[in-house]
């Protein structure tokens, strides 16, 4: 005999199935106006101002001289990794702007706990985020080509496939995507995107919202040129909150639709400026919601970066720079140690003062309002030579596995 809980779940499952059928029926009747809200695909963007033209206000950017060639947006492919609070809104904005192709990556399902964020709706609970997003986005703009992948990019097999799609998933099959956007919420996935993009020489933008929901940032990463995600410890926007009063008991993360919406907005703004070549493209733009402060900066790649491909890309970039005819002076770049950073959040992971000093590394000179999540001491291998490491062994891996299993 099924419990009430089980029956509730079953009802939900069936409702989702029904929804999927309905959506399939709709998308199957492309161009059929019988539902009254499905427009046919538009072959060429028109600047004509009529109420039936979804692109008229965007094409007006051309007439006003802001953007030189707006239609070019239809030739671009963007991959959005993470279709959560930031990624879904990002994908919606790009869809409404008429991007050529979107690749969506996420392994998660829509949950009712996501409803404090934008985009997804309660009736989509239980569907995979990429599937639900594709349905909604295709409805909004059938001109966009969608490709979705419902998996975790950080595991071996998926990562290989992810790299393949980044390098071959462009609008013209076989060509790379134009831009990768990281809208993930964890360090592992950011590092995986970073590794892939360094290896492929793929330009990407990173975005993030802090776990306390009151700050965020976007960052443009051009492998070999600007700092990659592994070039420095994670950068954070200091929200100027006293860490002692920040209560972390009993919760992992907070989230606000406002902060996520703002970050998605500044991210897509940067994407449009980058792709359509207008305005100034930000290398790093922070958002401090507590003080309404937007620090910005630019950071060069670190020659000592731990990522081998980052260093390779830097080498290529240096060669290219040498060959390039000399023009303007390259501004900025300082790697000075900052003594006193009043915005800095010290994450005390050690017990005593000495331990803390020993475990702290140099803080890169960053503008007011931006700091690093933590520092790393310069010589990492300093616990003394008598440091206890694993012994050499004659045993094979299989033998060790068997030994562990028998314990």
């Amino acid at each position: 005999m099924a419990t009430v809980e089980e029956l509730k779940l079953r009802v939900q499952e069936l409702e989702n199935e029904l929804l999927k059928c309905k959506l399939r029926q709709c998308s199957g009747s492309d161009g059929d106006d019988s539902h009254g809200h499905h427009r046919p695909r538009i072959e060429k963007m028109s600047a004509e101002v009529v109420d039936s033209n979804p692109y008229s206000r965007l094409m007006a950017l051309k007439r006003m001289g802001i953007v030189e060639d707006y239609e070019k947006i239809r030739t671009y492919t963007v991959a959005v990794v993470g279709v959560g609070g930031v990624g879904s809104v990002t994908a919606e904005m790009l869809t409404r702007c008429g991007i050529g192709k979107l690749l969506l990556f996420d392994y998660d399902k829509v949950e009712l706990a996501n409803m404090n964020r934008l985009f997804f709706q309660p009736h989509q609970a239980g569907l995979s985020k990429v599937e639900a997003a594709e349905h909604t986005l295709r409805n909004i703009n059938p001109d966009v080509v969608f490709e979705t992948h419902n998996y975790n990019i950080t595991t071996m097999d998926n990562f290989t496939h992810f790299m393949e799609r980044i390098s071959h998933g462009g609008l013209q099959e076989g060509s790379p995507v134009d831009l990768v956007l990281s809208c993930v919420d964890n360090f592992e996935a950011r590092m995986a995107i970073n590794a892939a993009c360094n290896e492929l020489g793929q330009i990407w933008m990173e975005s993030g919202v802090s776990e306390n929901a009151v700050s965020g940032h976007i960052q443009l990463i051009i492998p070999g040129e600007t700092a990659c995600f592994a070039c420095a410890p994670p950068l954070v926007v200091a929200a100027n909150i006293d860490e002692k009063t920040l209560k972390r008991e009993g919760v992992c993360a907070a989230s606000l639709p406002t902060t996520m919406g703002v970050v998605a907005g500044i991210l897509v703004q940067n994407v449009l400026k980058y792709l359509l070549r207008f305005g100034t493209v930000s290398h790093y733009l922070g958002y401090n919601a507590m003080q309404d402060f937007f620090p910005s900066m630019s950071m060069k790649a670190n020659p000592q970066c731990e990522d081998r491909y980052c260093r390779e890309r830097q080498e290529e970039f240096r060669k290219k720079e040498v060959e390039r005819p000399k023009q303007e002076v390259v501004e900025e770049e300082e790697q000075v140690v900052h003594e006193d950073n009043e915005w800095g959040i010290e994450l005390v992971s050690e017990v005593t003062e000495e331990e803390l000093r020993a475990a702290s590394g140099p803080v890169p000179d960053l503008p007011e309002g931006i700091t690093v999540a933590y520092t790393i001491p310069e010589e990492r291998a300093t616990r003394g030579p008598e440091e206890d490491t694993v012994p050499e062994t004659e045993q094979s891996l299989e033998e060790l596995m068997a030994q562990m299993r028998k314990m």
Binding site: F187, A192, A195, P233, A253, A373, R380, L397, L400, M404
Partner: protein, 167 residues
């Protein structure tokens, strides 16, 4: 960071030498051997200290790990299945340990039952790449998490002692 007992346990886990992840072919096998050596030593230490609390094993590629961990509370043993994948960027990033059966029961978890580690863990891990391995992850990540969360889950009645488990 951690309490004295944890610090002592961690200091007795041998450190790893090979900076290699699952995308490197031969070096990864070397790293895996070191992982197993450190894990075996840690479990032996735990047994000696009468504080045996987990078992782990992996697929043959060493990319997917699973096992059991348990916690003794009021003389009763509470046991949980645990699992995690080795991320492609390991050891630069630690794996996310999951206890799927506790998903939704505590706020100190991300989706899929991935445990939410303290603010101290990430800097500590980053400062010790590549010397820290899975044994350190158990000692500094999962161990302290269980010690805080399990008594709380029991008190709230969200976790019950299962009869078939020996106490």
């Amino acid at each position: 960071m951690a309490d004295e007992a944890t610090r002592k346990a961690v200091s007795e886990i041998p450190l790893l030498k090979t900076n290699s992840g699952p995308r490197d072919k031969e070096l990864w096998v070397q790293r895996l051997k070191e992982e197993y050596l450190a894990l075996i030593k840690y479990v032996e230490n735990n047994k000696k200290a009468d504080n045996d609390w987990f078992r782990l094993e992996s697929n043959k590629e060493g990319t997917r790990w699973f096992g059991k961990c348990w916690y003794i509370h009021d003389l009763l043993k509470y046991e949980f299945d645990l699992e995690f994948d080795i991320p492609v960027t390991y050891p630069a990033t630690a794996p996310e340990v999951a206890i799927p059966e506790l998903d939704g029961k505590t706020a100190k978890m991300y989706r899929g039952g991935k445990i939410c580690l303290t603010d101290h863990f990430k800097p500590l891990w980053a400062r010790n790449v590549p010397k820290f391995g899975l044994a350190h992850l158990m000692a500094l990540g999962l161990g302290p998490w269980l010690a805080v969360e399990v008594p709380d889950l029991i008190a709230k009645g969200l976790v019950q002692h299962k009869e078939q488990q020996s106490s």
